[in-house]
């Protein structure tokens, strides 16, 4: 690891100042992604601003929403009794990610900010527009088995690796941010971005902006939910495809639905059209298959990931069947 200077921030304002005034400064929370990337030379900050002493760890349920501090640990959120009872999809998605050791360090803010696992991004000897803008994309024309089938560009076809974010986008979460220009709220679906011509930008957070919390509005999805993760081994591996599914059922009729996918795009991929197509339908495999077909419109595969064109719709159907307990 390259040497760096180290600051322990005593307040959010101090943290923001320290990062916004210094081009090459970064926040460090759990460190599980940043230190990994620094060891590989993929990221080389000259200053780390430790935010772990900031009071951003609380998990609070009020009458209309769940508030999760940005420094709440992934394991703590997953095990929280209110989260398990009222937002079980979030708990399941968190438990599908990484290992218990990593979840014990990983924070909610850090999880959102984690970078792609594209192997060309990690390999500093290879071209990568995300790591080094303008150097080309190693994955296009290279090995792209793990890569996107939705929303990619000719500059980058990487996917966002998070599981937690797939549940949060499905549940209409809102990101609370504070920064040099004050506070703002970002709808979760607008937090991460598609690569377009600037794949070096993973999200819409500005320089020096600090995530302080995530809020999840109360919802009826407490029972008929399922987070399905398809991966190369049974646990402790990133998703090839994942699906967050939530249904509000009246008898066998779908009142409302939430669907999102991971491992398929540069951002957690919400399936709004497929959700709408389910409203008023009965919870049958046939209707789930039809919704999956809607979800797959505009999907595009590359040389090694065309299997995702089957795996993704099949996973949607399976997740919905499990959610409906059909």
């Amino acid at each position: 690891m390259n040497p760096f200077s180290f600051v322990r921030a005593g307040s959010p304002k101090a943290a923001i100042d320290a990062v916004s005034k210094d081009d090459n400064a970064r926040f460090i929370a759990g460190g599980t992604n940043l230190l990994d990337l620094m060891k590989n030379g993929v990221m080389q900050p000259e200053k780390l601003v430790d935010i772990n002493n900031l009071p951003l760890k609380d998990i609070q349920l009020s009458k209309d929403k769940l508030h999760i501090g940005a420094l709440a640990l992934n394991s703590t959120v997953a095990a929280d009794s209110q989260v398990k009872a009222q937002f079980p999809l979030l708990s399941q998605a968190l438990l599908a990610g990484a290992s218990q050791q990593l979840r014990n360090m990983a924070t909610v803010g850090g999880n959102m900010m984690q970078r792609t696992r594209c192997s060309y991004f990690y390999d500093t000897a290879m071209p990568c527009n995300k790591r080094q803008p303008g150097s080309g994309c190693g994955a296009i024309g290279g090995i792209n088995r793990m890569h996107a089938i939705f929303g990619a560009s000719d500059k980058c076809i990487a996917v966002h690796p998070s599981d937690m974010c797939v549940a949060l986008v499905a549940l209409d979460a809102v990101v609370l941010v504070t920064g040099p220009k004050g506070d703002r709220k970002i709808p979760f679906a607008d937090f991460h971005r598609l690569p377009g011509d600037t794949p070096e930008k993973d999200n819409t957070l500005g320089k020096g902006e600090l995530i302080t919390a995530v809020e999840v509005p109360n919802n009826p999805y407490t029972k008929n939910i399922y987070y399905l993760k398809v991966r190369d081994r049974a646990s402790y591996a990133f998703a090839l495809v994942s699906v967050a599914a939530a249904l509000e059922l009246e008898g066998n009729v779908i009142k409302s639905a939430r669907l999102a996918m991971g491992g398929v795009a540069h951002k957690p991929w919400r399936l709004t059209a497929a959700e709408k197509s389910l409203i008023g339908k009965t919870a049958t495999e046939e209707n789930f298959r039809a919704a999956a077909n809607v979800a797959m419109e505009n999907a595009k595969a590359y040389e090694h990931n065309s299997f995702k064109l089957q795996m993704a719709p099949n996973s949607i159907v399976t997740a919905l069947l499990k959610a409906a307990s059909v």
Binding site: F4, F6, R8, G30, G31, L35, D50, N104, Y236
Partner: protein
């Protein structure tokens, strides 16, 4: 909800007069001796506490003993334990969070010591595999690993054992399936998984205090 589950520290008997024990003790004393006489207050508000290459004072409790140390900011907890304190029981497998060989407990929670910085452990309580036994008396999990042949080469074993103890304390060891899922952060190249699961099951079912 609190994130600090305080570790029940067994009372420690002094290290034995082995060569390794001697090395460990003397290097721990070296570390103490090298700490600047005035220990800077670390959590001073938003101050740069270390410039490039500068060493930072940091204090933590490791296996029940208080340590006042001096580290470069880029030193990981794993490297601090192994290279500065000669606590070589904690293994370095991948150094990237992918294998679990470096698992230790920080304030009672299992973490990968390769992906956290030593300077971030100010005031924390660390337990390594060296701190698990009660003097000569092995921890029940260590005994169970021996009984069930929970290892072959042994390289992953300290991490497996630290993880297994935490797995039971967390309440995640109620069935073989649950143990497999919650132990998945510990890779064993020798494939001793079945026997590891048996060892964890036995300790869990034995109901001993872990």
């Amino acid at each position: 909800m609190s994130q600090d589950h305080s570790e029940k520290q067994p009372t420690h008997k002094p290290l034995h007069e082995t060569r390794r024990g001697f090395l460990k003790q003397s290097s721990a004393m070296m570390a103490l001796a090298l700490t600047p006489p005035i220990v800077l207050k670390a959590a001073e508000k938003d101050e740069a506490i270390a410039a490039l290459f500068e060493k930072v004072p940091v204090s933590m409790e490791i296996n029940g003993k208080k340590h006042q140390l001096s580290v470069e900011p880029r030193t990981t907890l794993l490297d601090l334990l192994r290279e500065q304190l000669a606590l070589t029981g904690t293994k370095k497998g991948c150094d990237h969070g992918q294998c679990g060989a470096c698992t230790v407990h920080v304030n009672g929670m299992r973490v990968n010591s390769c992906l956290t910085l030593a300077v971030m452990q100010e005031g924390k309580k660390i337990t390594t595999i060296e701190g698990l036994a009660n003097g000569e008396e092995l921890h029940p999990m260590q005994q169970a690993f021996i009984k069930h042949d929970g290892f072959q080469c042994g390289y992953c074993t300290p991490g497996q054992i630290m993880s297994a103890v935490a797995c039971i304390r967390e309440g995640h060891a109620n069935s073989p399936e649950e143990i497999r899922e919650f132990m998945s952060g510990n890779i064993c190249r020798c494939g001793a998984y079945d026997n590891i699961v048996s060892a964890v099951m036995e300790v869990k079912q034995g109901g001993q205090q872990v």
